[in-house]
Symmetry: C2
Subunit: 406 residues, 2 copies
């Protein structure tokens, strides 16, 4: 047999990706952030200050903070999360990770085995769904309204599972600025969900990555903070509130969980310079930075909504986000967004098709998620206009754009 490298590859891997073709002209995907809000000068100042003071710690794995990550950054989180979302924790409850994606992987490894069942919001983060599926774990979507997870539907699903003798391991939820619907779950609803978790005995995996991006800059109490036992595992990130390329996230949980995760987090620690810079930056600047960032994000959100109204009219249904970086849009049933995704990509307009952002992929087939945080104003205007034209060319709607018939 002639030698071929690919004969050695494991059989169950996803298809190879294509080569990177550069940043799309109209890029409305993923979690990119606002360029003008990257606090470059302050990051430089923090880099200088912290490296001169603590740079020698780079000679050590763990940079003299141990395997849970930079102690100063963990201490910032302890105090910030107490003040803003009522969490009573200490630095031992925090494990810094390489972005919240590593947090998802580590928590899934802690809790899940093939053929397990978990509950998710009917529309939720695509990266969480794909991770759950890659482990051979089943997910069931719980209906959402404008206050997040519907308790009645949650109970209905739980009773259905109970009848089959299935106990879900966890409910994955993004209660504050839900991804993709951008709602905020009120405290009352959080307490209801917690009571149900206790009654039916499952864990809550609370992803709070967007919680600092509400337009009013108020965070409800986290579900973690409302729970009187160690039933909630919490994760967060600096990707959305400072910069996605930083790759610094965290898990917050009882020491029982953290000490177990540490036993298999065998990556030599997460990047130290970024943690050190963040620790210095956050202590002095985080709150003010987030206040300013959110003003710019809301402005861009308003702009994108105006453009959608103007170009798509009633074809594009959406609710004004309560915060965050994206809008979740429902089209008429005649628009297949997997198809729209494909033709738009070819014309330089990148979007997230809804089928990747829902538990039952067929329920996302006429939906898309658009991220407004990164593109410049002109890119938003032109990109939404192009998208409407592409949509018209493919599906015959919307017939008018900017009040002019196509």
């Amino acid at each position: 047999m002639t030698y071929k490298l690919e004969n050695f590859f494991a059989k169950d891997l996803p298809d190879a990706t294509g080569a990177y073709s550069g940043f799309p002209e109209y890029n409305f995907v993923g979690g990119h952030n606002s360029e003008i809000n990257i606090p470059i000068k302050k990051l430089v100042k923090s880099a200088e200050s912290v490296l001169l003071k603590e740079g020698k710690n780079l000679a050590l794995y763990g940079h003299n903070s141990g395997p849970q990550g930079n102690l100063a950054l963990r201490e910032f989180l302890v105090s910030y999360l107490d003040e803003h979302t009522g969490m009573k924790i200490d630095s031992g409850n925090i494990l810094l990770t390489s972005g919240s994606l590593q947090a998802l992987d580590l928590v899934n490894k802690l809790l899940l085995k093939k053929d397990d069942t978990v509950l998710v919001e009917e529309a939720t983060y695509g990266g969480a769904i794909s991770r759950i599926e890659s482990l051979g774990v089943k997910h069931l979507g719980i209906k959402l309204d404008n206050e997040g997870i519907c308790p009645q539907h949650l109970i209905q699903i739980l009773e259905m599972l109970k009848a089959k003798d299935i106990s879900p391991k966890y409910l994955y939820t993004i209660p504050t600025v839900q991804n993709p619907t951008a709602t905020v779950m009120p405290e009352k609803r959080r307490r209801e969900i917690l009571e149900i978790a206790k009654k039916y005995n499952f864990l809550i995996f609370e992803d709070d990555c967007y919680a600092d991006l509400t337009w009013d800059r108020k965070r409800p109490k986290s579900i973690y903070s409302l729970c009187d036992e160690d039933r909630v595992i919490y994760c967060g990130s600096f990707s959305k509130s400072i910069a996605p390329a930083l790759r610094v996230g965290y898990i917050i949980a009882s020491w029982k969980a953290i000490s177990k995760i540490l036993a298999y987090k065998n990556d030599g620690g997460s990047g130290a310079i970024e943690q050190m810079i963040l620790a210095d930056f956050c202590k002095n600047n985080y709150k003010k930075h987030a206040d300013e960032l959110v003003i710019e994000l809301e402005r861009k959100c308003d702009l994108m909504m105006q453009c959608l109204d103007m170009e798509f009219g009633s074809i594009a249904e959406f609710t004004k986000p309560k915060g965050g970086i994206f809008i979740w849009i429902t089209f008429p049933a005649s628009i297949n967004t997997n198809r729209l995704f494909k033709v738009a990509s070819e014309k330089g307009v990148a979007l997230n098709p809804g089928s990747e952002w829902v538990s039952k992929s067929e329920e996302g087939i006429n939906k898309i998620r658009l991220c407004f945080a990164n593109p410049k104003d002109e890119t938003i205007k032109d990109g939404i206009s192009h998208l409407a034209q592409i949509c018209y060319d493919e599906f015959g709607i919307p017939i008018t754009g900017a009040n002019v018939k196509r």
Copy 2:
């Protein structure tokens, strides 16, 4: 049943770790590096320069370099590795990773399935062995001499496997400054190993993390560079040559392998600031930095060897390393180093017991690995003296230390 969080944990996970108890007084474990050689001022300068120039790219996942990591750093590697180890590659052959540990995980995922067999050096990196074992993959150790892997023993093992109809997936080797024996495999031996790989049709996984730390600062041609087909997958790191807390490593392979790995490297990219700083730093300073680092490392190596000779005499057998950061020591059979590890740890002396650094754990039972890069001179002197006393108290040897009877 009363609620207990641990009832939800997956059953096959390792035991929870204890809380971090601080840096041991005499720490001779792991890959910590020389503090005085951390190029703090130059890193600060690079941080300032690169953040002011490219900081806005932090708003993007991939910081405008795509999913393979910082382009300038990959271009540095293309040119440096061509000049120093004869590799003809382009930036498309490189995938930057969160340390070479992520590189090991990604390559293992590409190639290995439960019950596969791989070949390793009889003594090799503990983190590689534990990863292979955690996947349910078998490893067989190939004998080493002072030029690395013994071709005759390799063939013998391959014939034995062939008789059982087993094809090993890869041979994992650290040819330059082998971990833990610190030998350097000459080019002739590399070519022999490659011929055997072709004849018996397995891949070579070449780990070159220590290759810039030879005392003479000469790197043999990498096995990758000697191979006329895509049979070698190569990994490297900046942990040993700049700083372990940085967590920047890389995989070098044919695009076939890289494009496949990219399909499941779903971590949102590895940390950008560290890659950006390294790209700027390396272009201007890497070679000179490594030259200076190696002088200090060899000085410390000599000091540790002197201390071992003085405190342990003929009890501690070792060959002078050709480079790197550690010494591999063989004691008489009467010394059980798992026991020594335990009692020494309790007295503040941390070492790597040999059983974790060999393929057949019983073959490492009278061996230890000591890292000399991080401890100060006094710490090396006092630590080796303490270790000899601890060893005497436990095993009755060495009877004399510093020419004085105990």
